[in-house]
């Protein structure tokens, strides 16, 4: 029961990742459009602002999927040597800290969105877009990240095998 709920949630994170991928493709198209517009002598006023929004959306929607596939960087140098129960305690502590921090982030990004909506705040760029619109998917992505971390924390508490860093297959850190 718990595992099927877990894989259902993983499906949602994956969906977020796919939507982020769509965002990346859109970002590329948007930039190509602005090049083309310049060549044709059209004015692509808001294109750069929209590119920023699309990037932010793509980034946040992918955060949870990245977390669940061990894509975020952590320094495991010191805890590597610790095994068994002590390691589990440390892992739970890390996840608890991360749950708190990501929930905090999600709450305040939602508040930012709400405040922009309340005040009717507009972008300063040529797009003049109401800022709550691009901020909504960003806040949603942050909430999804918080959910995925909490999800992992609960697994670490009750179903440790599913997330044990000593045994789980690391995809390893991506790199720059």
């Amino acid at each position: 029961m718990m595992r099927s709920l877990s894989s259902f949630l993983d499906g949602i994170y994956r969906l977020g990742g796919l939507l982020a991928g769509v965002g990346l493709v859109c970002l590329c198209l948007l930039v190509l459009y602005s090049i083309l517009a310049r060549l044709l002598g059209l004015y692509a006023g808001g294109a750069t602002d929209f590119a920023g929004y699309v990037m932010a959306t793509a980034t946040f929607l992918a955060l949870a999927d990245t977390f669940r596939t061990n894509g975020h960087i952590r320094v495991q140098l010191l805890v590597q040597k610790i095994i068994g129960t002590p390691r589990r305690v440390i892992e739970i502590l890390c996840l608890a800290i991360m749950s708190g921090a990501t929930a905090y982030l999600a709450y305040y990004l939602a508040r930012l969105t709400h405040d922009s909506y309340d005040f009717g705040e507009r972008s300063e760029g040529a797009d003049a877009v109401l800022l709550w619109m691009p901020q909504t998917p960003v806040a949603f992505g942050a909430a999804l990240l918080a959910l995925s971390v909490l999800h992992t924390l609960i697994q670490a508490l009750f179903d440790y095998d599913a997330v044990n860093p000593e045994t789980s297959g690391h995809e390893g850190p991506n790199e720059v």
Binding site: C28, A62, L109, D115
Partner: protein, 432 residues
């Protein structure tokens, strides 16, 4: 509260969190939250949200996901084979033979990829098996590869450089111009090291020389798309036709065309490249979020300004300052990846470096080289990780093999300090 105490609190919090294994971005975020709570009366969460939104939706950063995507597409093409087969016939006659292909192919790939690990992985995919089969000593194969792979960060385009430019508010295009000559010079120094090594070890260095030279013309023709891609990306930036972001988008388009032309573009490889890119982007962005908020917290505490003023009051010569910074970054680079050490330190280092009167373009190039070193120093070095995955050798062996390259880079830092024109000349000429 005194600045010294707040520095201690910031640092110890950060080290405890990082040491526990809390994810880097979140460690930075939590440290910043704690610092703001202790030292300011600012509404913390709201300030965090405003800062993060402003940074994450900024147009300048859009070059980053696009260059990452370009690298992901190219990694899935036959580019590594093309590069190896195209460059080997020309480099094999140099003392040291095909080892030079590691450097040459890395330099070429670095000119289309922004990442150092991607460079190692792409070049190594072909050269490790080919060179091993010809009895090249393994420590030289691995060492030259991990060293030359770092060129991915220095030779433009470079993801670390984009992050540096965004952080200190310098033109990314100009940074890309500044890095070109130092990048090529460092590649030449790696090659010089190979020559030197092979001359010193003439008695034992005895690789098989059975290189297949057939179809030479076709191999050169195969290199043309790569060169076109370099021209499209670097050329469009240098000539000023395109901004860094636009060049990246053109690069993505070019890579897709190249991979379609090579028949390696499938639906699956396309989707895999996109998913891989958004994950890498998300990983970097989480760290940037934490770092951006931490520098806001530091700004409120006044630490960076106080530190910069303190160091200014020591009246260090620029040379002494650079020497200290180099040592500092080498130590830091042992434990942190290059990206984290850039974003972590810039809030404090930038005012200091500006106060000392350094050219920020020059400093950006310098920083890329010291950060490159971090890629090949144990225990945390991404090039080492990648090579560990590719060769199955342990970290100790790989880092020992890479050590001479580390020394070469140290020498190069000295050269760059003595001849700053290496970095500042080209941007000066090109922007005329």
């Amino acid at each position: 509260m005194s600045e010294a105490l707040s520095i201690i609190i910031f640092l110890s919090t950060l080290f405890v969190l990082l040491g526990l294994g809390v994810w880097v971005g979140v460690s930075l975020l939590v440290t910043a939250i704690l610092g703001m709570a202790l030292f300011t009366s600012v509404p913390i969460g709201d300030a965090m949200a405003v800062t993060i939104w402003g940074e994450q939706s900024s147009w300048t950063l859009t070059a980053l996901p696009l260059f990452i995507w370009m690298g992901e597409i190219l990694f899935r093409t036959k580019l590594s084979e093309t590069l190896f087969r195209g460059l080997a016939p020309f480099l094999r006659r140099l003392p040291g033979g095909l080892l030079h292909v590691n450097v040459g192919a890395s330099a070429v790939f670095a000119a289309i990829s922004g990442s150092s690990a991607a460079t190692v992985a792409t070049v190594g995919k072909m050269s490790i098996p080919e060179l091993s089969r010809r009895n090249y000593p393994e420590h030289m194969i691995i060492g030259t590869l991990s060293g030359a792979g770092t060129l991915g960060l220095l030779i433009p385009p470079s993801i670390s450089m984009i992050i540096f430019g965004v952080t200190v508010n310098e033109s990314i295009s100009k940074l890309f111009m500044a890095a070109m000559i130092p990048g090529l010079a460092l590649a030449l120094m790696f090659m010089a090291y190979i020559v030197l090594w092979s001359l010193l070890n003439r008695s034992t260095f005895n690789p098989v020389q059975d290189f297949d030279m057939s179809g030479l013309a076709q191999r050169l023709v195969d290199l043309v798309p790569v060169l076109l891609l370099i021209a499209a990306v670097i050329g469009s930036i240098y000539s000023g036709i395109a901004t860094a972001t636009e060049a990246a988008a053109l690069g993505v388009l070019g890579s897709l065309i190249l991979s379609a032309w090579q028949r390696s573009l499938t639906r699956d490889s396309f989707v895999a490249s996109v998913i891989g890119s958004v994950r890498t982007t998300a990983m970097i962005m989480l760290i940037l979020m934490g770092a951006g908020f931490l520098s806001l917290a530091m700004g409120f505490t006044g630490i960076p300004r106080a530190l910069a003023e303190t160091i200014e009051s020591w009246q260090l010569s620029p040379l002494a300052l650079i020497a200290i910074l180099t040592l500092f970054y080498i130590v830091l680079g042992c434990f942190l990846d290059g990206l984290s050490s850039i974003v972590l330190t810039m809030a404090v280092i930038e005012p200091m470096v500006r106060a000392a009167g350094f050219d920020m373009l020059w400093f950006g190039v310098y920083l890329m080289i010291v950060v490159e070193m971090a890629q090949i120093t144990p225990p945390i070095g991404f090039n080492l990780f990648v090579l560990q995955g590719m060769t199955g050798r342990d970290m100790g062996f790989i880092s020992r093999a890479s050590f001479p390259m580390f020394v070469v880079m140290c020498v190069f830092v000295v050269i760059l300090v003595l001849v700053p024109g290496l970095a500042t000349w080209l941007p000066g000429v090109l922007s005329k």
